[in-house]
Structures are given as C-alpha cells and as structure tokens.
Symmetry: C2
Subunit: 566 residues, 2 copies
C-alpha cells in the first residue's frame, strides 16, 4: 500500500469519557491536545515501517468505565474514624477515585489502564483540609498501622503514586492548595504543598494586587509538568525546572518546610545560612513521602521581569561543539543563562520537525551554511534577571557559541520551543493510540563523563531496531549537566518493555550516570537504588526512615528502595 | 595619673617559648603580630577607664612550659596496637602534644591556658598517613570503645577540639594535607581534609604549573581563619568565607566527600544534580566529626582572575540605609558581589580606627559631608568573576548605594580592610596581656528580623557597663544575612565571663537568630541546640548519630548537643 501524503490520522480531539480509564492516563487537561506534526507522522511511518493503514483505527483507547474488583480491606470502623477527622465529603471509596489517585503518568501505567488492568489501589482516598487533619490522620494511621500514600499533582513518571499496601491515599491539592503569604522583605512565599504550578506562578505574578507587594514575583520553577504538578511534589521528588540553570533546582528553592511524621511534626528554620549541624531542611528534601507528609513550604521567590528576558538560539556543527560551548558558558562566571538546552543530532532533526522549523527558510539556510543533518545540534535558551545582567549573559553566550562554530538562529527557534514546551506530553496519547510508545529516562552527569554516558546509553537504545532516541542536556551546572533521553518505539508487551527499560537504567549505571536527575525515585528506580548509592549510603536512608516511620506506614512497599524486602 | 599621649604598651613581639602554654593559645604564626593602633589604644583606655599604667606590665602571659597531671588511661597494649597501625613516629603521648591538639582558639581556652589550667586532654595524639590508617583506627577504636577526636586546623572557637572522654586525637594536617588532583573539565579539585587554606589556594592558583591545567583556579573560600584552618574543617563545621556572597558557603563548595565511620566507609557521588532521595553528601556536612572522619573531598573550584576584581567602599548615613541598600543589592538579580560587608555605627567608628582611616583626609571629608559618627555606617566590598560581570555588579552596587544616600570612599577603605583581614585575630593576645577580652558571636538571620536581632543582642551586650559592641553583616543571601557581634570588655573571671556569654546566646535565641552562622556548634553551643532546633529535629540528628556511631566513640561528650546527658 502506498501512502497518501495528505492523510492525517484522526488524532483524538475528544475529551475522555467521564470516569473512564482514559481520563486517568491522559495527560493534562481533558480537552487539550497536541498532535504530532505531519513531519513527525511521516518520520514515524518511515522509522517503524508503518503505513497510513496502521493509523486508521486507534487501539486500546481505554474509554471503558473504571471498574475494579479490589475489595476495601480497611474496616468500616476505621473508615468512620477517618471520616470523623476530615468529614464525610472528604473521604472517597468509589472505584474511580481509588484508581485515579493511585496512578501517575508512568508509561507502564498507561499501558495497563488502556487494557483496563489495575494492579494496586488504596482502600480510601482522603482530602485533608489542613495541617491538623494531616496530623490527626498520620497519628491515627500510625497507631493502627494503616499505610499512608500521598498524591500531589499526579504527574509522577516513576510509579510515585503506587499503593502496594493499600490503606489511605492523601490528596493534597483539593484543599491545601493556597499561597498563604508573600514576604517581600525576605523574598519568600509560604505555600501549601498541593498548590499547582500555574496557580502558584499566577499568584506570585499578581502579588502587588493580591498581597500588596511593591513588585511582582515569579517562582522560577517551570518543569515540563508545570501545569500538572504541585509545589510540594517539586520538592519531595527533587524536580528541576526548565530555567533551573539560573534559578536552581527545587532543592535550592526551598527555604523551610513543615512535616508531619509518625515521629512528630516540625518546621525547619528559615535562616538563609546557619552552621548548627547537618541541615534538617535538606535532609527532608527528596524524601518522597517516605518520612512524612510535607504540609507547608517557605520558598524563595524572584523578581518577575519578563520584559528583561533575552532569547537566543544557535545551531552547532556537532554535539562536541555544543557540549564544549555549554561548559564554557556555565563555567564562564558571567552569570548563568535561565533556560539553556542543547539537543544531540538525532533530537535536533526530530526537534526541527516538532517545533515546525523543519522545511522553513531558516532550516534551508542552516543546511546551506553547511550544518549537516545528523551532525548539527540545536541550542535554545534565555537569559533572565536584571536587564543589564540578562543582556550581558546573552552577549557572552553569543561570543562563546560563535567561537565554537555555531550560527545564530535568533530567538525564533526558542520562541517555537517555548510555544510547545508544556504541550509535548500530550502527544503521548496520540502515539499510543496507534501502538507507539514514547518515554524518557534522564540522568545527572559530570562534564568529563558526558560523552561516555551519552554514547553508552544511546548505543543500548539504538541497538534495538526501529527505535528513535533523542537526547538533550537542559539543566546546567559548572560541574556538569543532565542527559535526558527520549525514546520512541513501536508498542511491545509490558514485560518486554520493562525489560528494555531496565536495560536502559543498567546502561546508565554502567556508564556512570545517576539513575535520576529530576524525576525522583518512586518505585520505578527503587530496585536500582542500593546498587547506585552503595549499601552504606542506603543504610543512612534506611536509618532515617526507621527514625521517622518505625512502623513503616509512610509510602510503604519499595519507595526509594527502602523496604524492597517486604 | 594623666596619660602620656606618646606612650605605647610594649606589645609582645616575642615568639612564645617552645612548648609553652602561650605557644598553644597564641593565634597564627609564632612570629607574626598585629598590634592595636594608637587610636584603638586610646579608645580602650577611655572605654575601660584604664590608664597607661595599666599597660605597663603584661599579665598571665602563659610563657610557662606545659606540664599536666592527667594520666594516660589507655592501656600500653592499646597504644602499641595503634602504633602498629600508623608507626611509632605518628603517635605522641607527651604532655605538650596532648594539650596542643585538644585546644582551639575559644576565648575560654586562652583564659585557662594563661593560668596553666588544662581541663581535658586525649590519651594519645595520632597522625594518620592516609585513608587506610583512618579506617583501621576507627575500626580498632570502635571495637575497643575508644573515643576518637579530630584536629583539623586548630582554629575552632567553639570548643571544637575538646576531648572530654580522652582517647585518641587524630591530627589530619600532618600527612593528609595534599591537593591530589585538579579536574579542569569538571572544575573540581580532590583534596585531603588536612590541607590548610593558603597551601590549597596556592596550589590552585598554580594549577597550570602543578597540574597542567589551561587556567589558574581559586577555592573561593576565605574565612578570617583562612591561614590557620583546613579544607576539611571548613566543611565539617559549615564555615563561610569572606567572599561567600558570590562563591557560596563551604556547604555549597562541596561536590562529594569520603567518610570513614564506625558504620562503614563511603564516598558520595559527584553528580552536579541528582534526584535519588535525600542527599547523603549534604547530610554529612556539618557533622563535626560526630558521625565519622572526613578523609577526602571533591570541591568546586573557580577561575582565578584577580585582575577582574573590582573594589568599592561606601559610607551610609545610617544602619537602616546600609541594610536596605544591601538587601536591594543581593535581591537585585544582577549577580552577587564577592565580598560585601556593612558595619553598624559602633563598628564603623572602631573600624575606622582599626583600618587606619580615622583621622585621614577621607575621614574628615566624610564628616564634613554630614555622615555623623555613631550614625554613619561603613560598607566595603568587591565584585569578582568575568570582567564585564564584575564591572556590572560594581556599577549596580554604586547605583543602589547612592540611591540610599551613601557616599563613595572609592576602593581605598576596602584595600585597608583587605590588608588586615586575616591579621585581626592577632590582637587578641595583645589585649588579653593587659586584661582585655575580645570575643565574637554570630548568627544567621532573615532580613525581616535583622533589626530586632541587632537591637536585642546589642542591648544585652551594651547593658553591661564598659563593653564595646561592634556588629557587621558579611555573608549575604537574597533571603537574609548574618550578624557578627564583636565585643570587648575588661577581663573578668571565667565563670562570670561564661555567664555573660551564655546571656548573649540566650539573647540571640530570644530575638530569633540562629545560634551559629558559620562558627559551627562544637561543644560551646551544644547546650543550646535542642532549644534551638526543637526536640523533633534534634532527634533526627541523634538518629543519624546512632546509625553512624552506635557505640558513641566519635567526638563524644556533648558535641553538636548529641549526648548531653552522658
């Protein structure tokens, strides 16, 4: 069969049916979509030997109503006691809620839900109204040894919401979702953990109206999941925003935190600097609900001055040149760019198609100037902060990039990238509707190991026939960066997929990368934790776990690799 | 008696006698001195109602030879076994070594030693040659429940070297004092913990010759104790350098660490970013030898470009103006100054006398321009980094300072300050020779609490008659700074002094400051730790302690407030 060059698949434009499996695994807003470009569609067919025919009928859409057989194991008496704490309206026991709040956006979960497979659910879903509710629930659950899980924004791609032991799922975003105060003197904001990214950012941007500040502010944290992740989630999973090179990772944005744990409730100090022993505030970051529940945060905020933003984009002749220039930029001590991102040759080609640059005059010009497909590398970025600072960073970046043989693409490519940067995850559903998986793994890496890790992991992925592998580095530090691998393949069975995925992580370990740069650990990376950290360091995490949660009720069943044996 | 305006005390210019008490408590190099200026001498007489006569004869100089009665409690067999590990030349049991290596620079210690009082000593002093030695010693001591203490540079002002339980003192600087490698790609250096500041900095400055790098480097960490403190000490006590506003505190300079603990030996990963649960690397920082022995560090390094340094100095009309301008500077997002320091009115006057600015034309000009003594506030600083960056920071600082009513003093005052910045501690001996104590406490503070803390603590100190109290802020963050209180008073008995000192810390706590910004905890602040952190957070530190050191052999007897009850 020959392909019709005008044929486009009937990508779904229908919000998922209410209470359907699809409504759970679909990314983002029910009525929002982003479809692959025609260039992408053509690429997928070529790469996977597919034809238009393969895109005629979507498969396993998961439009069925959620129905599960898992019985509620918690006694009615216990449920009543929890209702006594939070009120009847804040406890749910229906099938749909139990499934919805125990599934994130891990590819495996979508593969299951499309097949109406549900492996684990909590007994009940609870929406705490405030810190006191959380405290009472944790006390109650600790007494009765009831497992407690936590749902933030629901965007986990590491099985962060799995509930292997049943029990209670606490949903933080229903009530505990407010910006409580802005302290303009300290440039800090006190926020509840369940507040979602856009609401938080909007409230800070509008601080002059809402909090009577002189200036507007920004949170500085814009992960790809920004629209569907919560402030608390950013911190407990150690996320990084797309502008982290300037603003820092979530780790660096947290001034103080309040936790409810079985070992007590406490709030860490908000001193900007202190030398009173190991910092409890930092010990809690990345604990992913396994030590206790984060109930309030004091975050750094930054002046909001989008008018100062400088955009730039470059095309490098090679990956080596892009890497060398990036290193020079972030070691140059002239201030850090905000967004900074370099794509390897394969991602560059796929990206030009994704951002709609492929085939435009700029694409033609770049090729004419000798930047060859599958060698050339795209770089997009911004500089923020005070006006003169941002301009100086932009100018220094320009100097360095040119020195490394890059040609400027002006801010055009960056604007194209910005337009789609939160929307790309939407494509996952389109692809999976036609039997194609798109997934990612990412790793922290030092400069001197970057090429080894890139080549090693890429070789593993590309060794599989018909597999697209795009890589970029997007979070920069003077000492290194991250590598973010995106791979696309034709649908395979879950077991085979898991084996392939495990192989990638093994390859990351073998080539000296960290098993997660900013996605957290969840239960997906748990089996690799001890090998990665070594037994002495895992023992430290277990000692902390045992201190905070001696009965193992907080996120039990493998989280962070703490209790793999139970 | 009237004073002779030309009289100067015969400040000691004699290196202390070998093996004398004075050789232990004297700051720095035996043959280096810095004496109070004549303006200071006059000020001291005025403030304390003293006359030249009081400065005729030094008191309690501590020139006696060290002789102690404390018996060695460790069995000869055990000592032999330790000699078996490190060799005979690396074990000392003589009185002098036992005293020397168990005393730091805490004022109380000098008061004692001047009176030939020695309260606590280790049984033996051991100089490990390498990591393996440390590992064997820790294993041996853990088995036999022998206390292990650690001596870095010896500059502790928090009883960091006290040995209340006897046992072994490990001296890290004798052998484990080398810069092992410089990784120019990652901009990191692997260094042994016992390397002293100047040797470390010199080796980095000379990296092109010594390590074949393209560029010279700097460590970025220059505490007042720089010349007599060790890299390992900086990290385990959470020190801050004078240029920390740009380079970060010691906490931020550490990429990875290797520790020997009773629970095992491990090296943390050197990823610049990672999301694999709470960061063990950070958990170990500030552990002050109570969890284990730091045996190797990977540190961030920075490009060494002193030719780019910009110096500036300003006189503000008031403390409020100086504080407001400082906040504006570090929240301005145009890059951070390197050194930045504002002195309150009393320190400004005392400082002008100290730096030799008092009475110069610049002093006259400042007064003529209406900056009144005991209202005006001095600001000194530098900008470093890339040339254009440093200039831009300097220009923005200028704009902000002028906006807050400051007049420029050019870089002159900064250069005067730089000249004496490592030398001021030498004055302590001169003053104490004539019955005057100079001591410091310092605290981390948020911007919105700065004035309350400053006024509260100052009121407590000044409530005591005849007490000079100078305050500065010298480590800046967007969210706050530190307050460093220097107080000078006429000699009193140790018990009375301790009561006064305790009152200051109580006052810091009462007014919402942290009990240490960068001096660490040692055993001086231990009694305040639980009140400061709260019992839940102290319990976390104790859980870590119990994990690493279940037999409590590492720095036992109150360190970090961990084992106050034993």
């Amino acid at each position: 069969m020959t392909d019709d060059s005008k044929f486009q698949p009937a990508w779904s434009e229908k919000p998922p049916a209410k209470k359907s499996y699809r409504s759970i695994f679909k990314w983002g807003s029910p009525d929002e979509f982003k479809h692959p470009s025609h260039a992408w569609f053509t690429m997928l067919k070529e790469e996977f030997g597919m034809t238009d025919k393969d895109f005629k009928k979507p498969q396993l859409e998961g439009n069925e109503q959620v129905e599960i057989r898992q019985k509620i194991k918690m006694s009615p008496k216990k449920i009543d006691q929890i209702i006594g704490i939070v009120g009847k309206n804040n406890v749910e026991t229906d099938d749909y809620s139990r499934v919805r709040y125990s599934h994130g956006k891990t590819v495996d979960e979508a593969m299951d839900l499309r097949r109406n497979i549900v492996r684990q659910v909590p007994d009940i879903v609870v929406h705490p109204r405030n810190k006191k509710d959380v405290q009472k629930i944790v006390e109650f659950c600790n007494q009765g040894k009831v497992p407690v899980y936590v749902y933030g924004g629901g965007s986990s791609v590491t099985f962060g919401l799995q509930t292997p032991k049943g029990g209670v799922m606490l949903v933080m975003g229903t009530h505990m979702n407010k910006l409580l105060s802005v302290n303009e003197i300290n440039q800090t904001a006190v926020v509840q953990p369940g507040m979602m990214g856009p609401a938080y950012e909007e409230a800070l941007n509008e601080a002059p109206e809402r909090f009577d500040t002189k200036l507007p502010y920004t949170c500085g944290h814009f992960p790809q999941s920004f629209e569907y992740s919560s402030v608390g989630g950013w911190v407990v999973t150690l996320g990084s925003g797309q502008a982290s090179t300037y603003y820092g990772d979530a780790y660096h944005l947290v001034v103080s935190q309040e936790y409810v744990t079985p070992a007590g409730t406490f709030k860490t100090h908000d001193y900007p600097g202190t030398a009173t022993g190991p910092k409890i505030n930092d010990i809690m970051k990345g604990s992913e609900g396994a030590f206790g529940i984060l109930v309030e945060l004091t975050m750094k905020i930054y002046r909001y001055a989008p008018e100062n933003r400088q955009r730039f984009a470059y095309m490098f002749p090679s990956w080596e040149a892009a890497v060398d220039a990036s290193r020079e930029v972030v070691q140059g001590e002239f201030g850090m760019p905000a967004i900074f991102r370099i794509s390897d040759p394969e991602e560059t080609e796929v990206g030009l198609k994704l951002y709609g640059i492929h085939g435009t005059p700029i694409d033609t010009l770049v090729t004419l100037r000798g930047y060859k497909p599958m060698e050339r590398c795209l770089c997009v970025g911004t500089a923020e902060g005070e006006k003169g600072f941002a301009r100086h960073v932009r100018d220094q970046v320009a100097k360095i990039c040119k020195h490394h043989g890059a040609m400027t693409l002006t801010g055009f490519a960056t604007m194209r990238w910005e337009k789609t940067r939160y929307k790309e995850p939407y494509m996952r559903e389109d692809l999976m509707d036609y039997g194609i998986i798109i997934d990612t793994v990412e790793s922290g890496v030092t400069w001197d190991n970057l090429h080894r890790l890139h080549e090693g992991v890429r070789a593993y992925i590309k060794n599989r026939p018909q597999t697209i592998c795009m890589t970029h580095a997007s979070h920069f530090y003077p000492q290194g960066t991250n590598l973010y691998f995106i791979f696309i393949l034709k649908m395979i069975e879950l077991d085979e997929y898991r084996k392939f995925h495990k192989g990638i992580i093994d390859s990351i370990l073998k080539h000296g990368g960290s098993i997660s740069h900013h996605h957290g650990v969840g239960k997906l990376f748990s089996p690799f934790m001890e090998k990665h950290l070594g037994k002495e360091q895992m023992a430290v995490l277990r000692a902390l776990k045992n201190h905070f949660d001696p009965k193992n009720i907080m996120n039990p069943g493998g989280h962070l690799g703490l209790d793999m044996d139970i």
